[in-house]
Every structure is written in C-alpha cells, then in structure tokens.
C-alpha cells in the first residue's frame, strides 16, 4: 500500500508528516536529532559519493573535516580566449584543488532554488545541478520516512513559499525544478501547497467557529503571509497572500556583518583589497569555503608577517583553513535563537588561532535588524489591505517558523493586532502537519 505524505522542505529544517483523517503523525526522520521529527536541511556528499543528511551529515562532516590536513594541487580547469584589437590568444586556466578534501557539506538548498545566478556546483568529478541536490536530499528523506512508516510513499504534497522569487519566471522555474527533483526522488505524484496555507490548515484543526486568520510564517528563508477565512471547510477562503525574501538567514548575515567581521580584521585592514575581499566574503556561506586556496593563504601569511592586524588575520586564516565556517554560522544562528528568550548571549568560537567572544544583547540585535522590521511590517499591512479586511476584523494571528519567535516581531504583531490575538503554533511542525492534511484531501 502506498501513502500520501506532506513534506516541508524548509530552508533550515525539514520534516515529513502523515495524516490518517483523525490526527497528524510527524515522522521521526532524524533519530540523531534532539527533535527526531525535525531534520536539518543539510546534505553531505563524500568523495566516494556517499550521501548523508540531517544530523548525520553534520556529524560526518565534523568527523572528516575539522582541522584536517590539506594538500593543494594545481589542476587545469579550461581555457579562455582573449581578444584585443586584431590580437587573439588562448590562455589556460588553472584552479587549486584540495585533493585531501573528504566531502562537501551543502546547506540552504532551498535558497539555491530561488537564486537565478546559482545553477549548481561541482562535487569532485560530478556536477550537481540545483535539481540534483534537491533530488538527492528528497530521495534520502523519502527513504527515512518509508523506514519510519514501514510502507512505500508514492504521493507527496510539498510546501512552497508564497514567492520563491519576486520574478514570476524564476518563481515558476524554482517550483518546476523542485517538482522534477521530487519525481526523480521516486514520488509518482507531486503537488504543492503554499506554506502559510498549510500552517492554516493545521491551525484550523484547533478552532470551533469560523475566523479571519493571518498566518505569519517566518522561517529560515522567507516570510510568508496568508489572510484566510478558516473554521468551516465550505467557507474556507484565501483572501490574500504575500511574502518577502526576509528571514532567519538574513538576520544571521546581518549579525555577521555588523558584529563578527571586526574579529576578522574588518576596520583594521585597509589598502589590501585581496584581504578585504576575503573579509567581505565571510557572511556568504557559499563563498567562504571557496577562499581556501594557497594563494590566499600566502597573502594572509605575508600580512601577518608584516604585522597587519596579525591576531585578527590569523583568526581569519583559521576560519578559512580549518573548515570552521559551518561551526561559525551555527554559533551565530545559536546566538540569534538564544536572544528570543534571553536578554544577552555569547557568540563565541574557540579554536587554534581563533578566540572569538562577543557579548550580544537583545537591544543590539533589535537595533541591527530594525530595518527589516520596517519592511516586514509594510508587507504585512499590504497583504491585509489586499485582503479587503480591516485590522480589527482579524480574529487571530498565527505565527509559525523559527524567526516568528524573535521578540521584535512578536511585539510588532501584538502592537498591530493586540496581544490576545497573537497565537503561537508549533514553530517547526505546523507547516508539515498542514501539508500532511492537504495531501489527504
């Protein structure tokens, strides 16, 4: 017998759930995680093309990579034709490859889907398009879910943000890439539901009379808003939906830009464009791992010898060459999460050559991301205006997704709608639960 499931393919975390008509069952797809029903959207591909996902990917990555040895070899990558006037010559291009690199860790796979300038990546001898990466992840996730259920899964309802991209073409392309990836992963039937609407379907299970509800789904990659009439299947209606590319990963990036870069030489190093480029690449999770070339190491070593911010540049060298990027981003994210419940936290990274310590208070965080609050509030009010309802006509605001717990945004929702109307849904499972309900419809 085959089953229909809902999959929330999230930017930071994913999940799988099944609905039996009575209750939703979240599947324990990551037994190694603290919450086995939540799996990190992280994929690790080794040199011999073994694949791992979730916590296992993270653990394997740490075991294989942190403080490992490196050996760079120069490899011919291709050639370029150079034209100038009537002159033409061909130049060989070489790249440095770390031949001891045991694998590649890939995260933010969903963000890659909506980036028009990111087509895919070379992983050792094979090229993985964005679709291939999504397929690999979904295929492994499907197997985990089938193992948990003991049955084959053929049909899936995948969640998708209200807007993958502001550009309709890119938005359509991202959805079709994900659809194709799901088919290639082994799902025979694939359909989509907007993530905030899925969260609404789950919320609907808990109400007894019709309500006008705003779903505020604020996750790792996007903010999705839906204004809906819920409570009665016959009169269920989506008044309006909206979204914006602002979410948890943007806040992480802002923290790094505003608070972390000085630890790696920002503000101290001037007139060294190559080093400045390296420092500016730190917030970019795709660019940082690519900086580890012998040429860059040479540049950093020379600067350290010349006593140009030696401690900070040594820390930068450690960050790049000891494969600490993933740990670093995790620490920043953990600091951000801690500020949802604490007034202050420490973002720290201690390793050979690095001794990063930053006391980060909620007031600092709120000041750093304040400009996002303005944008989020605008999108929220625009979506409500588009729905034709007044703010007073909204009966409940359901917040879901990790970023919805940030007090700055909770405060904004309370200010606009009134504290009593703001309802908290499970941050990590309401979307996948709603998708499971949709799959059964």
């Amino acid at each position: 017998m085959s089953l229909k499931v809902g999959i929330d393919f999230g930017t930071s975390n994913s999940g799988v759930a099944v609905f039996d008509g009575q209750s939703v069952k979240l599947l324990p797809v990551d037994p190694k995680n603290v919450l086995p029903e939540v799996i990190k959207t992280v994929l690790y591909i080794t040199k011999d093309y073994r694949t791992y996902l979730g916590q296992e990917a993270v653990e394997t990555y740490y075991r294989d990579n942190v403080n490992r040895q490196r050996r760079y070899v120069k490899q011919w990558a291709g050639e370029i034709d150079v034209y100038g006037g009537d002159m033409h010559y061909v130049r060989d291009i070489f790249v440095y490859i770390d031949e001891l690199k045991p694998g590649r860790l890939l995260q933010y796979l969903k963000t890659a889907l909506r980036k028009d300038n990111y087509q895919g990546t070379q992983i050792f001898e094979r090229y993985y398009s964005v679709g291939d990466l999504a397929k690999t992840y979904l295929s492994l996730l499907k197997h985990r879910a089938e193992d948990a259920l003991g049955e084959t899964i053929d049909t899936v309802t995948l969640g998708r943000p209200v807007k993958f991209s502001e550009h309709p073409e890119q938005d359509h392309k991202a959805q079709e890439t994900l659809r194709q990836a799901a088919h290639e992963a082994g799902f025979k039937e694939v359909d989509f539901e907007l993530e905030p609407i899925a969260a609404a379907l789950f919320y609907e299970q808990s109400i007894t009379k019709p309500q006008n509800v705003v779903i505020f789904d604020f996750g790792g990659g996007t903010l999705d808003i839906a204004v809906m009439r819920l409570g009665d299947a016959k009169s269920r209606k989506v008044y309006a939906s909206g979204g914006v590319d602002i979410a948890g990963s943007d806040f992480d990036r802002t923290i790094i830009e505003k608070r972390m870069l000085p630890h790696f030489g920002y503000g101290k190093v001037k007139h060294h464009p190559e080093i400045m480029d390296m420092i500016h690449a730190i917030p970019d999770w795709m660019a940082l791992p690519e900086l580890g070339t012998p040429i860059n190491r040479n540049i950093l070593e020379k600067a350290i010898q010349a006593k140009i911010a030696p401690v900070r540049l040594k820390a930068l060298e450690g960050l790049i060459y000891n494969d600490l990027a993933f740990t670093f981003y995790n620490r920043v994210e953990a600091g951000k999460i801690a500020l949802s419940s604490e007034g202050a936290t420490i973002i720290s990274l201690e390793d050979k050559d690095i001794s990063l310590w930053e006391l980060y208070a909620r007031a600092q965080f709120e000041s750093d991301i304040y400009h996002y609050l303005v944008d989020v509030e605008k999108v929220l009010l625009d979506t409500i205006a588009k729905s034709g309802l007044d703010v007073e006509e909204i009966d409940a605001v359901v917040k879901t997704g990790g970023s919805s717990n940030i007090p700055l945004f909770t405060g904004m929702l309370a200010r606009i709608f009134g504290k009593e109307k703001v309802k908290e849904s499970n941050a990590f499972s309401s979307v996948v639960a709603g998708l499971a309900i949709k799959a059964k419809m």
């Binding site: 294989d64 403080n67 490992r68 040895q69 045991p102 000085p262 007034g343 936290t345 208070a361």
Partner: protein, 394 residues
C-alpha cells in the same frame, strides 16, 4: 565599533530590560575568569622567553633537526663522499635505556646491561592519577617525544634524563621531571621518534579507541607549535599513545576488558576516527604496530599470559566494531582484566613491573612457554626490549 559603544549598548539593554543585567554581568564575569587564566599562561610564556629557557628549547630543536638530517644522509648515502672527508668522531657506543614513567611526568632512566635481570624496586605510590607507570626501552642516543593529555608535545634526548642506579630502590620523588605537566593535563605517553624521517605517519590512539593519523611531513609544524592534538572525539576521552608508522603497517590496540582490534594504517582517514565501540567501563591499555613476524602477548593482572598470532587479529572497518574478545565472559565476571600487551618476537625480552614496585626482565619465549608470569603482587605494566635493541646491551 568601539568597545565604549558596545558597553553603551549593553547598558541600554540593561535599562530596557533590567532582568538582562544579571545575564550580562554573569557572562562578563565568566569571560573575565577565562581571560585571567589566559593572562597567567601568557605571563608564564613571557618569563620563559625572558629567562632564555625558550631559546634553549629552540637550540635543542635545532640540534635535533641536525641529527635527523645526519641520520637521513647516512641512511640514504647522500653526500657520502663528502661525509668521509669530514673528520669523524669515534662512534659512540650506544647503550639501551629503560624509561619508567608515570602520569605526573616523572621518569626513571636505567642504563641496562646484559646480565642484570632484577632491575630494582620502585617505592611509594605506584598508581598516580589512576594510571599505572609505563615502560619504554630505547637506545640511549634516541630522542623521545612526550605527549600530554591536552595534546601538547615536547621533545627530549634520552641522554638528558638523569639515570638511576640499577638494583636500588627508588622513590618517585627521585625521578626526573623534564617537563612538568601543566594544570589539567597529565603525561599520556613517551614515544621514540628518531625514525621520524623514515616514517609516514604519526598514529595517535585515545583511551576510548579513537585513532588519528597525521603525516610526518607536518612534524615541523607539530614540533614548532608543541601541539599535535588530543586525537579524541568525546570531551571526556584523552590521548593514550602515539607511535610512528609506515603506510603499509598494520596496528592494533588492546583494551582493559580484553577486546582487541586491528586496522590498516593506510586505510585510516586523516580525521580522528572511532575504531571500536567500547563499553562504559572499558578503555585502551596497549597499542602497537604488528609486524608480520611478531605475536601478540597480553598479560592479565594476575600474570596469566594470552598469546595470539598477530595475523589472527580481526581488522576493523567501522566505528561500530566491537572487537575480538580475548577474555572469556566467565573470566570477565571473575574480574580478570588485561594490564599490558605488546607485539613481541620469541627472542625479545619483557620488562615486568608489579604492584610491589619490583622491576625485572624476563625472556619473552619463556613467558609464552610457561603461559604465566610469576609475581609477588599484581602486574601493573609490561614493556618490551626488542632483540635487536638488546644487542646494544653492554
């Protein structure tokens, strides 16, 4: 952003949410404690720089490198012609030294001679920091590497360690302390390393069965930084042994509760790798490479000897391996445990230390034949004097 601005921002947080003030003060206090500890370490380093002990250390290292170079030249016949033209000093007669050391970094050195079998007796506390003393036989002109449980390493020439007289009774307070362990660390092991240029890897084994392979081409950086790493995965784990190995070597380790596991050095990854799944009470008590012509000899605390062909050791391919069991379950229940193990040849000699502090040399062949070691107290530790090393005995 200036530090003053940061303080203003923290103050703002404390004003907006007074409950945050406690958190901020707690976090800053913790940081102050860390910084004060670090400051003390830096001051100690500064003293070492000022009083010249660091310079001495570097001089020793230079001398060591020159020795390595010389060794290489001789092994590979480089500049042989030139070497013959250089007036050479008469070759020093190399003797064999026995090092007995404990976790606190105290080392006895005995210069062995061919006749003596009863070496003497150690008095006082035998087990320090829950670790029995360990035994290493090395040529007296050898250099040794000291590995501490923090991952720190240091090098010494065996000749620099003062000797004690054979046949005497020695207290640990008389032992040399060439490099006192720092706060929070103990001496994990001492390993000979003049074969460094001819070896491919450093092989580290942790107490909980993790193995880490490091290329010897990184030796300069390791010795320069005085740090090779702990080679363990869990925080509670700590390094146990360090040895030099070749690509094609096969190595093994033995645990307290009688498990043995082997592995090919070449197949190890360069990251720390868990090779065995141990029970909570078990830990590694011996590790060694297993050349084809050796056999494995394990000794229990009561002196019972278990002897196996090296090639019979199962190879582990995964971290979930449980290893071969050499102690039957019924004996385990009775409390039988391994205290020492080594890869030996029949004509090697075995140094045995018991809980009464008695230190003596026995023939490996006769121990294997008898199947046990007679001892007046529990066996604490064994060491091997290789037959080729014994030829150095005067």
């Amino acid at each position: 952003m200036s530090f003053t601005t940061k303080i203003d921002e923290w103050m703002k947080e404390a004003e907006e949410r007074p409950e945050s003030a406690v958190t901020i003060v707690r976090l800053i206090a913790r940081r102050l404690r860390e910084l004060s500890e670090r400051d003390e370490e830096l001051l100690a380093e500064n003293i070492a720089l000022q009083n010249g002990s660091r310079v001495e250390e570097y001089q020793k290292r230079i001398a060591h490198l020159e020795y390595q170079l010389d060794l290489l030249k001789r092994r590979f016949g480089v500049d042989e012609e030139l070497l013959t033209q250089i007036p050479t000093k008469p070759a020093e007669i190399s003797t064999l030294s026995l090092l007995i050391y404990n976790a606190q970094g105290r080392i006895f050195r005995l210069e062995l001679n061919a006749d003596t079998k009863e070496l003497g007796r150690i008095t006082g506390e035998m087990v320090t920091d829950l670790e029995p003393p360990r035994i290493l036989a090395v040529p007296s002109n050898e250099d040794v590497l000291l590995l501490f449980t923090s991952g720190r390493v240091d090098t010494y020439s065996v000749r620099d360690i003062p000797t004690v007289e054979i046949g005497g009774a020695w207290d640990w307070s008389q032992a040399a302390l060439p490099n006192e362990p720092r706060a929070g660390e103990t001496l994990a092991c001492i390993t000979p390393f003049s074969q460094l240029p001819l070896s491919d890897f450093f092989l580290q084994v942790s107490r909980r069965g993790c193995v880490k392979k490091t290329m010897t081409s990184m030796a300069q950086s390791i010795l320069g930084n005085h740090y090779i790493g702990k080679g363990s995965i869990q925080k509670s784990d700590q390094p146990f042994d360090l040895m030099l190995s070749h690509k094609k070597d096969r190595a093994a380790f033995i645990t307290y509760e009688g498990k043995v596991i082997g592995f090919d050095v070449d197949e190890l990854s360069y990251a720390t790798d868990e090779r065995i799944r141990l029970t909570a009470t078990d830990y590694v008590i011996a590790s060694f490479t297993t050349p084809a012509d050796t056999t494995m000899l394990c000794v229990t605390q009561t002196g019972k000897v278990i002897h196996r062909e090296s090639k019979s050791i199962e190879l582990s391919k995964s971290s979930t391996a449980k290893g071969q069991s050499l102690i039957p379950p019924s004996r385990l229940e009775q409390g039988v445990r391994f205290m020492g193990a080594a890869a030996v040849r029949d004509n090697d000699q075995i140094v045995v230390l018991d809980a009464a502090g008695r230190l003596r040399i026995l023939e490996a062949g006769s121990i294997i034949g008898a199947g046990s070691i007679e001892a007046e107290a529990w066996i604490l530790s064994i060491g091997v004097i290789p037959a080729e090393g014994a030829s150095h005995l005067t």
